[in-house]
Symmetry: C2
Subunit: 338 residues, 2 copies
Amino acid sequence: MAEHESSNQTLEMEKPKPPLRCIVKLGGAAITCKNKLETINEENLSLVCQQLREAMATNSASKVFGMDWSRRAGDPMVVDFDEDPAMDLDTNFIVVHGAGSFGHFQASRSGVHKGGLQRPLVKAGFVATRISVTSLNLEIVRALAREGVPSVGLSPFASGWTTSRRNIASADVSHIDKALHAGFVPVLHGDAVLDNLQECTILSGDVIIGHLAQLLLPEYVVFLTDVLGVYDRPPIDPNAVLLKEIAVDEDGNWSIVKPTVGHLKKEVEITVAAHDTTGGMETKIAEAAGIAKLGIDVYITKAGTIHSLRALKGEVGNVPDDWLGTVIRSSKQVHPLR
Amino acid sequence: MAEHESSNQTLEMEKPKPPLRCIVKLGGAAITCKNKLETINEENLSLVCQQLREAMATNSASKVFGMDWSRRAGDPMVVDFDEDPAMDLDTNFIVVHGAGSFGHFQASRSGVHKGGLQRPLVKAGFVATRISVTSLNLEIVRALAREGVPSVGLSPFASGWTTSRRNIASADVSHIDKALHAGFVPVLHGDAVLDNLQECTILSGDVIIGHLAQLLLPEYVVFLTDVLGVYDRPPIDPNAVLLKEIAVDEDGNWSIVKPTVGHLKKEVEITVAAHDTTGGMETKIAEAAGIAKLGIDVYITKAGTIHSLRALKGEVGNVPDDWLGTVIRSSKQVHPLR
């Protein structure tokens, strides 16, 4: 995991009360149409939001109280105030989303991740990238709000987060913590940010998750993506085997616990998608390993499936046979008899 | 002006280099259609953005390099990279906008300004208000970016700003300052925020302006609204007289310098629009007076006119006869012979 230099202010927030239940990463590939510029995968996003609500629900019989009271693309606004609303939710979640088909074009075309704000093209790319990713953030906040999840957008740049040569330099989480305590679900995202050494860069959602996990120590972290989990070779290969449990030791080295190695290709290949300016599955696994080292279970699974619902509820710690996904955890936490 | 308790961190930023040139308030009434729910006054907004660019231009012959590279309402994206872009702008401006027909419905219907997040309706209203005002913020950032102004949205809630019984309690401006130094134009807005005493409230754009002016000491502040300035009675009254210059003394009392009092109604009436949850012209004048007391000229005029362009350029300090608007300034700054 990236080296994080944290301020004293952020370290004070390490143990919030009540403890944070879950940090969820909504992968860009899961909630957008990766190959269609700035297009949301509405069906998947809606499913993910419904499942998040279900995972938070303390009373599944409660009626959804929609919180997006804004017009949508020309529609008139309809807000039903007739009933006395209830909000039976354990909202102790943080959502972080990737960019998918938002922001990447703007960032890679201008080279924002390489820095150099003196160049007009980079400065314009910074502005254009932020416009694209914040418009996605707004749509995700709205989709959650429509499902009755009290979501609030927290843009890392607006929160004053900065980097030093692409690693987080300062990232005050005190207002994330305040928002959580007030009963809101903070929704963060990969963003263009200022960098102390190269003036600007792209801070990826995966790096944000690693940082938040370190400071806020959630019970578990869920990565929702467009494949079932981590495979021993590219998942389009028909012989690809889903790795169901990976153990990470103190040095960050990882080994496959389940299935047993006999079934597997010796060297696990990790593919990095070419369009992804902030790294693909490799970054994801590196960040997941960094989180697992802290003793926090990481579940990687496919968004909008029965498997993602179980993961969001935190019910897959024992890696059930009928659950499809990957659990990454500290080797100290792996049950010796399983 | 509201009593501001500032943190040490914010006070360190009092004298940025180079000095801030201007803080501009885009009044909600000027950039939205006040009586049409969540509808932007596209023509006015576009004019305001063009004038802001013109006020910033150091070389008026430079071609506009558009920075909004996102799709708009179904349109395909067209980004022209053929030319080597130039950016001959003095970007040392901050923009703060009101909500107009965005956010007010959501806030007033749920009573967010009165606090009480334990009530589901208030919590939902908080979420709904932020969705509405941040969607307006995104559209204003995009409109500025299309005119080649390197604008970045900075939502007060996301920046961790909080209030104590509606007055600003903490509002760290260090990242606004960093954004300015990096050559960006921060765009802030009236927002729903957490309140130390009543859990939540609405922080108005006018209060934000007062706070920023106090900490960042701009050369001048411009309020762009839907009337030419401050009148001695409601401006729809045919006998209403435009007050061209108002002096504010150290105690915040104000007197009319121009025109001379003989022409005026004795008691100046100030109207407060009923739909405005954060106060109308009265709050505006109180905030303007608070800023003027600091020795900073405040220009109030109508958006999208020749008068607003002159105000944005800072060319109306001597209150020209052919300029229509109101200058509010410290009585110490008023020229004794004029």
